[in-house]
C-alpha cells in the first residue's frame, strides 16, 4: 500500500511535472524577476542600482501613461458596449434561424477573429491611411480627388481606427461564445414558450437574456483581461502615433524598454499592466459571483 502510494506520487510527478515546470520557469520566474528590476534603474547592461519606487512615481506623473490608460479604457469599452452585445445579437439571430444561409453568416462573422494581427494591421493601415482606401472613397463620393483623411490625426480621435478594427476582428469571438451557449438551451423550453404564444421579443427578453447573464459576465472578464494584453495590431498600424495619441500601455512599455533602453522603468510598466488586469479580473469575478448567486436565488 505504501509502495503503491509512492508509485502514484512518482507517476503524478512524471505526468504533471513537465507542464508545471516549463510553465513556472517561463511565466512566473520572469515576472518575479521583472518585479525586482522595476525597483532599479537598469539600462540593459551594467549593474542595476536600487531606486525604490522612483520608476512608479515617474510613471504615474507621466501624461503619456495616463493617455495610454485612457486608450486602454476605450478598448475595454468597445468590447463591453460593442463586441459583446453585437456578438450576442448576431448569435441569437443565427441560433433562432431568423435569417436564411446561417452557415454562410456564421463563417463570415467568425473569420476575422482567426486572421493574424499582422495581416489585419497591414490591411487596415492602408484602409485608414490619410490617402488610403477610406480617404479615396470619400474623395470620389464628394468629387474631391485630393481628399485626405485627417480627422484621425487629432489627440482625441487617433485611437478610433484601432477601435473600429477591434470591433471588426473580435466580435466573432463573442459571437462564437454566445452561439455555443445558446445551443445548450433546451429546445423544449422554447417550444413551450412558442406554444404559449410568447412573441419573439418576449422569448429574447424573458427567456434567453436572463439565461445568458453568466456568459455576459465571463465575456466581460475576457474583454477586460484581453484589452490590456495585446497591442501588436496598434504597434504595426500606428505605433502609437501621431505623437503618443494612439498609445496604449503595452506600447508604452515596449517603447520605453526597447527604444529608450529603460529596462527598469519598462519592467515597472509591465508590473503595473499585470497588476491592473489581475485587479480588474478579481473585481469582475466577484461581481459575477454575486450576480449568479442572486440569479439562482431569484430563480428558486
Amino acid at each position: 500500500m505504501v509502495l503503491a502510494a509512492r508509485s502514484n506520487r512518482a507517476s503524478y510527478a512524471l505526468l504533471a511535472g513537465p507542464a508545471i515546470v516549463i510553465y513556472g520557469l517561463v511565466i512566473v520566474v520572469p515576472v518575479l524577476y521583472s518585479l525586482v528590476l522595476s525597483f532599479t534603474d537598469w539600462a540593459g547592461m551594467g549593474v542595476p542600482n536600487f531606486v525604490g519606487f522612483t520608476n512608479y512615481v515617474v510613471m504615474f506623473s507621466d501624461p503619456i501613461f495616463w493617455w495610454g490608460l485612457r486608450n486602454n479604457g476605450l478598448v475595454v469599452l468597445v468590447s463591453l458596449i460593442g463586441q459583446i452585445p453585437l456578438g450576442f445579437f448576431l448569435a441569437y439571430v443565427i441560433y433562432r434561424r431568423l435569417v436564411r444561409h446561417s452557415g454562410f453568416f456564421e463563417a463570415v462573422i467568425f473569420f476575422p477573429a482567426l486572421m493574424s494581427p499582422v495581416v489585419v494591421a497591414l490591411l487596415f493601415g492602408v484602409v485608414f491611411a490619410p490617402s488610403g482606401l477610406v480617404a479615396e472613397m470619400i474623395g470620389r463620393a464628394t468629387g474631391n480627388p485630393m481628399f485626405s483623411l485627417t480627422i484621425f490625426n487629432t489627440k482625441n480621435t487617433a485611437i478610433i481606427p484601432y477601435l473600429i478594427v477591434l470591433l471588426w476582428m473580435y466580435t466573432g469571438i463573442y459571437f462564437i461564445i454566445f452561439l455555443a451557449n445558446l445551443q445548450k438551451t433546451s429546445p423544449e423550453m422554447l417550444e413551450a414558450a412558442v406554444l404559449d404564444g410568447a412573441s419573439e421579443w418576449n422569448i429574447l427578453k424573458s427567456l434567453i437574456v436572463p439565461q445568458q447573464i453568466p456568459v455576459f459576465l465571463t465575456s466581460a472578464i475576457y474583454a477586460v483581461a484581453g484589452s490590456l494584453k495585446s497591442f501588436e495590431i496598434l504597434w504595426i498600424m500606428t505605433n502609437g502615433g501621431p505623437s503618443y495619441y494612439s498609445n496604449v500601455l503595452g506600447l508604452y512599455m515596449i517603447q520605453n524598454t526597447f527604444s529608450f533602453y529603460k529596462y527598469g522603468f519598462g519592467s515597472a510598466i509591465a508590473i503595473v499592466v499585470i497588476l491592473l488586469s489581475v485587479f480588474m479580473i478579481l473585481i469582475l469575478s466577484s461581481i459575477a459571483a454575486r450576480f449568479s448567486r442572486r440569479f439562482e436565488q431569484g430563480a428558486t
Binding site: 507542464a19 482567426l114 499582422v118 497591414l122 492602408v126 482606401l133 471588426w168 419573439e200 519592467s267 488586469s277
Partner: protein
C-alpha cells in the same frame, strides 16, 4: 422533429425583428467581406492602376506582385521557420497538457487544486504582456536568435489553456476503464499511453488546431527575439515588408495573401475545432 419545432418557432417572428436581423447581418457581412475582397483583387493589380484608382477592379490582372513578394520576402525560409515552431510546439503542448490533465483528474493528490489554479493563472498573461521579462531572461541565457528561445515560451504560453481543455475531457473518461487497466497490472504511465491518449483523440485535435493557430499568428515574441533573419517567421517577415515599396501595396497585399493561405486552409478544414476552442474562452484582444 427538432426541425419542425424550429419552423413553428420561426413562424411567429414579427416582421420588424426579421428586418432588423437582416440589416445588422448584412451590414456586418459587407463590413467583414469588403476589405478582404478588396485585399484579394488589389493583390492582382499593377502599381499604376492602384495609383490611378485605389478602389476599382484591376483592368490588367497580373501575378507580378506575387512573384515579387515571394522573392523579396524570402517566404520559403519564413515558411520553414513558422512550420518548425508551430509543429514542434503543437506536439509538445498536446503531450504535456494531456499528461498533466490526466494526473490532475485521475490520480488522487491533495496538490491538484494548488497546481491547477497555478496553471490557470497563465490564462491571464500573454506573450505580449510579459515580453519585457521574457526578453531580459532570454538575453541573459543567450537564447535570442535561437529556436529554443521561441519554442520554450510558445509551449509555456499555450499550456494553460490546453491543460484546461484537456482536463475537461479526460475527467469524462470513466474511472472504471482506468481501474480495470490498473488491476490488469498497468501503471499510470502505461494507462496514459495506451488508454488516455487514444481515447482523447477529439480533444487532441481541438488542442492541436488551436495551438497551431496561436503559434502561426504570433508576432511579438519572434520580432523581439530575432535580430537577424535566422529565426524569422512569416508574420515577422510580413511586418518588415511594410516599409519597402511603400506606395505599392499591391505587392504588400500579395505577400499578405501568401502569408494567409495556410490559415485559410486551416480554417476551411477545421472550422469546427477552432470554434470549439474559441467558444471555451480563449483570451484574445
Amino acid at each position: 422533429m427538432a426541425d419542425h419545432e424550429w419552423k413553428s418557432g420561426r413562424a411567429r417572428v414579427p416582421l420588424p425583428f426579421t428586418i432588423v436581423s437582416y440589416v445588422v447581418l448584412a451590414f456586418f457581412t459587407v463590413f467583414t467581406l469588403f476589405p478582404l475582397i478588396w485585399l484579394g483583387y488589389t493583390s492582382f493589380k499593377p502599381e499604376q492602376e492602384i495609383v490611378a484608382n485605389m478602389v476599382a477592379l484591376p483592368v490588367n490582372w497580373t501575378v507580378r506582385n506575387y512573384v515579387q513578394a515571394w522573392q523579396l520576402g524570402e517566404f520559403g525560409h519564413l515558411f520553414v521557420n513558422s512550420l518548425i515552431f508551430c509543429v514542434v510546439t503543437t506536439v509538445v503542448v498536446v503531450l504535456l497538457s494531456l499528461s498533466a490533465a490526466f494526473a490532475f483528474t485521475k490520480i488522487p493528490s491533495r496538490w491538484t487544486r494548488l497546481w491547477f489554479s497555478f496553471i490557470g493563472l497563465g490564462l491571464l498573461v500573454t506573450i505580449s504582456s510579459s515580453i519585457v521579462p521574457l526578453f531580459i531572461a532570454a538575453n541573459y541565457l543567450g537564447l535570442t536568435n535561437t529556436y529554443l528561445g521561441i519554442l520554450i515560451p510558445y509551449v509555456a504560453f499555450n499550456i494553460s489553456f490546453a491543460v484546461y481543455l484537456a482536463a475537461s475531457f479526460v475527467r469524462s473518461i470513466p474511472n472504471e476503464v482506468i481501474e480495470a487497466a490498473k488491476i490488469d497490472g498497468a501503471n499510470y504511465l502505461q494507462v496514459y499511453r495506451l488508454i488516455v491518449l487514444p481515447m482523447s483523440r477529439p480533444i487532441i485535435t481541438t488542442i492541436a488546431i488551436f495551438t497551431f493557430h496561436a503559434c502561426w499568428v504570433e508576432y511579438v515574441l519572434v520580432y523581439m527575439m530575432s535580430s537577424d533573419s535566422s529565426i524569422r517567421t512569416v508574420q515577422v517577415g510580413l511586418s518588415l515588408l511594410k516599409g519597402q515599396l511603400s506606395f505599392n501595396f499591391g505587392f504588400l497585399f500579395a505577400a499578405v495573401v501568401i502569408a494567409s493561405l495556410p490559415l485559410l486552409i486551416l480554417y476551411l478544414a477545421f472550422r469546427k475545432h477552432l470554434q470549439t476552442g474559441f467558444s471555451l474562452g480563449a483570451l484574445k484582444g
